[in-house]
Symmetry: C3
Subunit: 154 residues, 3 copies
Amino acid sequence: MIDLLSICSFNAAYAEAIDSDALEQWPAFFAQQCRYRITNVENERDGLAAGIVYADSRAMLEDRIAALREANIYERHRYRHLLGIPLVQEADAQAAVSRTPFMVARIMHTGETMVFATGVYADRFVMVDGKLLLEERTAVCDSTVTDTLLALPL
Amino acid sequence: MIDLLSICSFNAAYAEAIDSDALEQWPAFFAQQCRYRITNVENERDGLAAGIVYADSRAMLEDRIAALREANIYERHRYRHLLGIPLVQEADAQAAVSRTPFMVARIMHTGETMVFATGVYADRFVMVDGKLLLEERTAVCDSTVTDTLLALPL
Amino acid sequence: MIDLLSICSFNAAYAEAIDSDALEQWPAFFAQQCRYRITNVENERDGLAAGIVYADSRAMLEDRIAALREANIYERHRYRHLLGIPLVQEADAQAAVSRTPFMVARIMHTGETMVFATGVYADRFVMVDGKLLLEERTAVCDSTVTDTLLALPL
């Protein structure tokens, strides 16, 4: 049975991988066949599937991280994810659906810190060989204004 | 026995109802006879009971939501609640007292995001027909400056 | 066995002590022989042990609080800690190692609220007479710019 605590632990490890610059670990939180999107609340309400960022396999997520390293984005800013308690909507031994609120601060090279994005992860988890993985994560941002610096994963 | 995880789950659902604009669900998180207040730390220390917002029944909370819909506040801004882990001070099978820190971001129609309010929920929970409900929630804001836009529930 | 929930509860009480101005309770969250540091991510990466703030016993933490009271810092600002879910890296019956992300807002006397610091607590916990205590807490701030107002404990 996938439960609240296992999703909490998953999310803690997910956020730590991004925020500690262990970006290469990030794709491994997803199933091989997966869907990762960043979109906003208005697009989501209107049923626009694409979003600001879209990937439909773990391989695409790996490509994305390789591109970020190439662009050397990390030198320019860091993120800090604060995640809320997941609202578990469905859960059994094999899969779970939950929503987890997020607030992400961006810390610039100059030291300036600001709230960069808020929203909710709409997630579908699956158990694969005893390991909890994301089959789908949609980061629905509350703000409809897309920052052109949007680069690190949410 | 009301425990930490049940309060965590309650709070996750409470925040999601507000932040996803399902405001009509909000009063149902409270017992019929309840007390909901928004106040600040200085007023609370001085024992001023009233606060910025005051309601003493679920019916008053329903009226408040109806008024918000009438005023069409939702078009103008959204909230995103990030809630901390509750500090459970007392708990048995029928009731619990806890304090939960909050940070609420406000997202304006323009996309601008800011930390709108921080503080702590001082709560008393009761079990009613097997369901956890708020008998009392006091949102004690850290800032003593009341924003005139204060409108959505905290 | 020290588990995720016991660390969550510990952190909730720790943050509440600071944010509710019960600063005199703060040293009691640490073992008598302990290490408390505030540093930043670049210093930590470079292995600089000292940090912005350094204490290596509970007595030093008590001195620090006494000094803060003397300086009457509390009148000038408050903090609100929002802590994430701990990532438990090692745990047995006697000790645990975990990382907990934090976001701290500062609320000035004027009511102005801002994100003051983000980062991660790198912690080592120990059980002493059945009580969970910090043997080591390093608050690793994401920003390398130290605010000269840095005063209250993180």
